[in-house]
Symmetry: C2
Subunit: 502 residues, 2 copies
C-alpha cells in the first residue's frame, strides 16, 4: 500500500507542463513572484526573488570574468546612429529593434505633454555596445603593450520586441557584455573560446544546466562576427535555448573604428576583437529546465534562500517555537555551517500567514529545503524538513545533526537537478533520423533536438524555415553518423544540431 498522501493532491501550478508548457511557464513566473510584465510594452519588473537569482549569477560570473583579467567599466546607454552605421552588417542586424531617442524635453501643449527639444542627430538606446567600445578602444590602444585589452560591462540593453515573453524575450534585459582587443588572431580566438568554455561550465556547475557547446552556422552569427560560439540548452518541452554566446569579430570592428596599434615590427596594424554575453534570459532557462508542476525548483547555488524555516505558530507556545526556529537558524548559519559567506540564505519566515500557506509559497518559489518548526520539534530538539525534489515527504534529524543533514540535502538537490537535466538532454537528442521526411515528421509530432549530417549551405536552411526549425549549432563534442545532408542529401560537411528554439 502506498503511504498516505498529503491533503493537497492536485498540482500547485495550473496548467501543468504537459497540458500547456508556455502557460505553465507564465504561471510559475507569477506564482514564484519572479517578475511581471505590467508596464511599458515588452519591459519587465524583476521582483525580489527573481532579481536575487540574477544577482547570485552575476556575483559568481563576475568573479570568473575578473579572474580572467577583465576590468569592469561603464559605457553610455546612448549610441549615436552614426556609430552603428560604421559596421554595415552590425547595423543591419539591429536596426529593426531599436528604441530611438529624438527629443530631450517634454512640453505641455494644451495640457498634454509632448516631445520638445529635438536632437540634431537621433540616438538609440544600446542594443549591444561593440561600436561604442570600439570608439574608445581606438583612443586607448596605442601599442602592442596595451594589448590584450579586456573589458566587461554589466548593464541594461534594449532590443524592441514585438512578441515579448518574460525573461526570454523582453524589450529591455540585463546582461554582461565582455569586449576584448588583441594583437593576433590566435590570441583573440583563444579568448573567445575561453569565454565560451566559461559559460559552459558556469551553466553546468552553477545552474545545473548541461548544454551542447558548438559554433553557430553563418546565418545565426552575431551581426558583424566572423564566428559565433554558443551553448545550447534544452528546455523540458524539447525546445532549444541559446544560453550564452561568444563572438570572434576578426578585424571588422577594428577597421570600422580605426582601432590600431604600433606592432612589435613597428608597423601600424588593426587589432582583433571579441565580445561575449549572457543575460537575464538565463533566469527563464532555469525555470524551464528545473521547474515542476508544483512550481520553480532552484539549484541551491542561485537560491535566494537555500533553507527556509517556517515556525508553526497556531495555538499557544509561539514564543518557544519562534525561539527554537531562531536557534535552528543560528545553528545552520554558524561558521563552518552551510554557507559561511551568506548567512542570509537561511531565511526565517516570520509572516503571520498559516504554516501550510507559507510552506506552499516556498515550494512554488523553489526553495531547496524547507524546515517546519512545530511544538514537538521544540520539545524534542529535532529538525523536520522537506527537500524540494521530494517535498511531500518529511525527514527529521536531531538538531546536532541538522547542519550535516541539510548540507547533504542541498548537495542532493544540486546533483539531482543536474543528473535529471543531463538525462533529459541526452534522451532528447535524436540521432537516428536519416531523411528530411523523417526530420519533418519528428518536428511535426514531437519536440526535441536532432543530431544529423549537414551540408552547411545557407540555402539548405531555407527548407527548415517552414518547420520553424534551425541549425542550433555545429556541436563540438557530438558526431552524427551518415554522409549525406539530412535536409538536401548533398555531401555532409558538418554534424549539426537541429531544433526549434526560444
Amino acid at each position: 500500500m502506498p503511504p498516505a498522501q498529503p491533503a493537497k493532491a492536485a498540482t500547485a501550478i495550473s496548467p501543468t507542463r504537459a497540458e500547456d508548457f508556455p502557460g505553465w511557464y507564465q504561471e510559475v513566473v507569477r506564482a514564484a513572484e519572479l517578475a511581471t510584465m505590467a508596464h511599458v510594452r515588452g519591459c519587465m519588473v524583476i521582483r525580489p526573488w527573481g532579481y536575487r537569482m540574477w544577482e547570485l549569477m552575476q556575483a559568481e560570473l563576475d568573479l570568473q570574468i575578473r579572474a580572467r583579467r577583465h576590468d569592469n567599466v561603464y559605457f553610455p546607454v546612448f549610441i549615436p546612429v552614426s556609430y552603428l552605421q560604421a559596421e554595415a552588417e552590425h547595423v543591419e542586424g539591429f536596426a529593426k529593434e531599436m528604441a530611438v531617442v529624438t527629443h530631450h524635453r517634454l512640453e505641455s501643449v494644451d495640457g498634454v505633454l509632448a516631445p520638445a527639444g529635438p536632437l540634431e542627430e537621433p540616438i538609440v538606446v544600446r542594443p549591444t555596445s561593440e561600436t561604442i567600445f570600439g570608439k574608445s578602444m581606438a583612443e586607448w590602444i596605442q601599442s602592442y603593450r596595451d594589448l590584450p585589452m579586456r573589458l566587461n560591462q554589466w548593464c541594461n540593453v534594449v532590443r524592441w520586441e514585438l512578441r515579448p515573453r518574460v525573461f526570454l524575450r523582453t524589450s529591455e534585459f540585463l546582461w554582461q557584455e565582455g569586449h576584448t582587443a588583441h594583437e593576433t588572431e590566435a590570441s583573440a580566438l583563444a579568448d573567445t573560446l575561453n569565454a565560451h568554455e566559461m559559460y559552459r561550465t558556469f551553466a553546468e556547475d552553477f545552474l545545473c544546466i548541461p548544454t551542447v557547446p558548438g559554433e553557430k552556422p553563418e546565418s545565426e552569427r552575431f551581426p558583424g562576427a566572423l564566428q559565433t560560439f554558443t551553448i545550447e540548452a534544452m528546455m523540458q518541452d524539447g525546445r532549444a535555448l541559446q544560453a550564452g554566446t561568444s563572438h570572434y569579430l576578426g578585424q571588422n570592428f577594428a577597421r570600422a573604428f580605426g582601432i590600431d596599434f604600433l606592432g612589435r615590427d613597428n608597423q601600424r596594424q588593426h587589432v582583433y576583437t571579441t565580445s561575449f554575453g549572457i543575460s537575464t534570459r538565463l533566469v527563464g532557462a532555469v525555470i524551464m529546465t528545473h521547474g515542476d508542476d508544483d512550481g520553480l525548483v532552484l539549484p541551491p547555488k542561485i537560491a535566494p534562500a537555500q533553507v527556509v524555516i517556517v515556525p508553526i505558530l497556531r495555538g499557544g507556545a509561539s514564543e518557544e517555537i519562534l525561539a527554537y526556529a531562531e536557534e535552528v537558524a543560528s545553528e545552520l548559519a554558524r561558521p563552518g555551517g552551510l554557507d559561511p559567506l551568506a548567512p542570509d540564505r537561511v531565511l526565517v519566515d516570520r509572516t503571520e500567514r498559516r504554516a501550510n500557506d507559507v510552506r506552499w509559497s516556498y515550494i512554488k518559489k523553489g526553495a531547496p529545503v524547507i524546515i517546519e518548526v512545530g511544538p514537538r520539534d521544540a520539545v524534542s530538539r529535532t529538525v523536520s524538513y522537506r527537500v524540494r525534489l521530494d517535498h511531500r515527504n518529511v525527514r527529521s534529524v536531531p538538531l546536532a545533526q541538522a547542519t550535516e543533514a541539510i548540507r547533504s540535502a542541498l548537495a542532493e538537490v544540486h546533483d539531482g537537478l543536474l543528473t535529471q537535466a543531463r538525462t533529459r538532454l541526452r534522451d532528447g537528442i535524436r540521432s537516428d533520423l536519416s531523411s528530411f521526411a523523417e526530420l519533418r515528421k519528428f518536428f511535426a509530432e514531437s519536440r526535441g533536438l536532432v543530431l544529423a549530417p549537414w551540408c552547411g549551405d545557407p540555402e539548405c536552411e531555407a527548407a527548415l524555415k517552414p518547420l520553424a526549425v534551425s541549425v542550433r549549432c555545429i556541436p563540438e563534442q557530438l558526431e552524427a553518423s551518415g554522409d549525406a545532408c539530412i535536409v538536401d542529401g548533398r555531401p555532409r560537411r558538418f554534424s549539426a544540431l537541429f531544433g526549434q528554439s526560444y
Copy 2:
C-alpha cells in the same frame, strides 16, 4: 637645512587647485584614468579605475541597505509619460531634462538611417522611478501585513544636461534608489531619517567625507516630496556638494497611483512613501575632497588597489626582483593580512614601463601605498614604501614587519584624510557674519559656507540668486547665533547653511 628634494619638484597636475580648481578637477579625472566625456553629449565612459571605486562604494552600501531589510529589484528603464503626469509637481520638476523615445526602429532613407515605427505614446528614459515603483506597489500592497515594503534598485538614470561635468552633472549617471511604503507617517519618517543617517555615516566612515546633515528648504525639495533631507559636503574650493538625499513623500505618490491597503481598522487607506538615493556623483566628491596637486588621493576603503607593488626592473636580476615582489604580495595577502576578503587589492604592476613612470602613474591615481622593489630590497629582504599623503618620503621595514607597517599606513591615510577634511569643513563654515552686506561681500571675495539665522521665506531666497548662493540646508547639529534673518532682517525661524553649490 631642509632635506634634499626629489628631482620632480613641480606638481604632477597642472593647473594646480589654487590656479584653477575646475581645470585641476578635469585634469585629475584624466590623469587618474577615471572617465572620459568623449561620446554622446553629456554621457561619460567610466574607466576601470573609476568604475572600481564605484563598485566598492556599491558593495558596502548594498550590504547596509540589505541589512535594513530592503529587497533589490529591477524596474524598466522606460516610463510612460502618463505615469509622470500623475504627480503634478513631480513631472514639473523633470520635464525639462528628459530623453524622449518616440520610435522603435531605424529605416534607411536615401542611405541615411532615420527613426521609424512611431510609438503610440512617447516614453521617457527614467530620470528617477517613483512613478513606476508606485504603479507596482499599488498592485502588490493589499493589507497592512504587506507593510512596510522596502525596495531598492541599482541602475542608470538620465536627466538631460545642457552643461555637463564629468561625474558631477552628466546626462546619464548610475545610482541607487530606495523606495519604501509604510502604514503610518511615523514609520515612513523614521525610514527617511534612517536612510539619511546611513548616508551620513557611509560618507564619513567609508569615503572620509564629513558632511553637514540637514533638511532642504522647500525650494530645494525633490519634486513631489514633503520633506527632503540632505548631507552637504564642502569641496576644497569652498563650494557645497549635495552628496545624498532622502525624501519623505507623504501620501502624494500613494494618491497619484492608488497605493492603498486594508488597515488594522478594516478601512482602506493610502500608504506613506519615501525614497532616497546616492549616485556616481560621489566619485566626483571624493576627487574634490581629497585630491591634491599631484592627483587623486584615495580613501583606502574605496581604493581599487590599496597597495601597488612596483618591481624596478632596469638592469639585471629582474627575475629575482619579480620573485621577491610576488613574495611581498603574498605576504600582504596572507590570511589575517591586510584585507583577507580582497587580496586583489594588492596589485603587482608587471608592465614594462620605467619604475619612475609607474610610480607617478599610481601617485596620480591616488593609490594609498606604493611599494618599490629594487635589488637592495630583494637582498636585504626589506620593503620600501611610500604613503600617498607623504609620497616624497620613502619608508623601509623588514619583510616580517611589512604587513603590520602597511596596515598602519592604510589607517594613517584613512585617518589623515578624514581629519584633514573635518578641519577644512569646520574652518570653512563662517558663522560670524551678521548682515546681508557681509554675506554678499563674503561670497564675492571668497568661497565657503555661511551659517546664519534665516526667516525661511521662499521670497527671501530670491535675493540670494544673483550671488549664485542658496540655502544648502537647515543643519541638524549647527546653531547660528542671532535673531534676525541675515538676508532680510525679519525674525529668524531657522539656522541655515548658505553656500554656492555644484
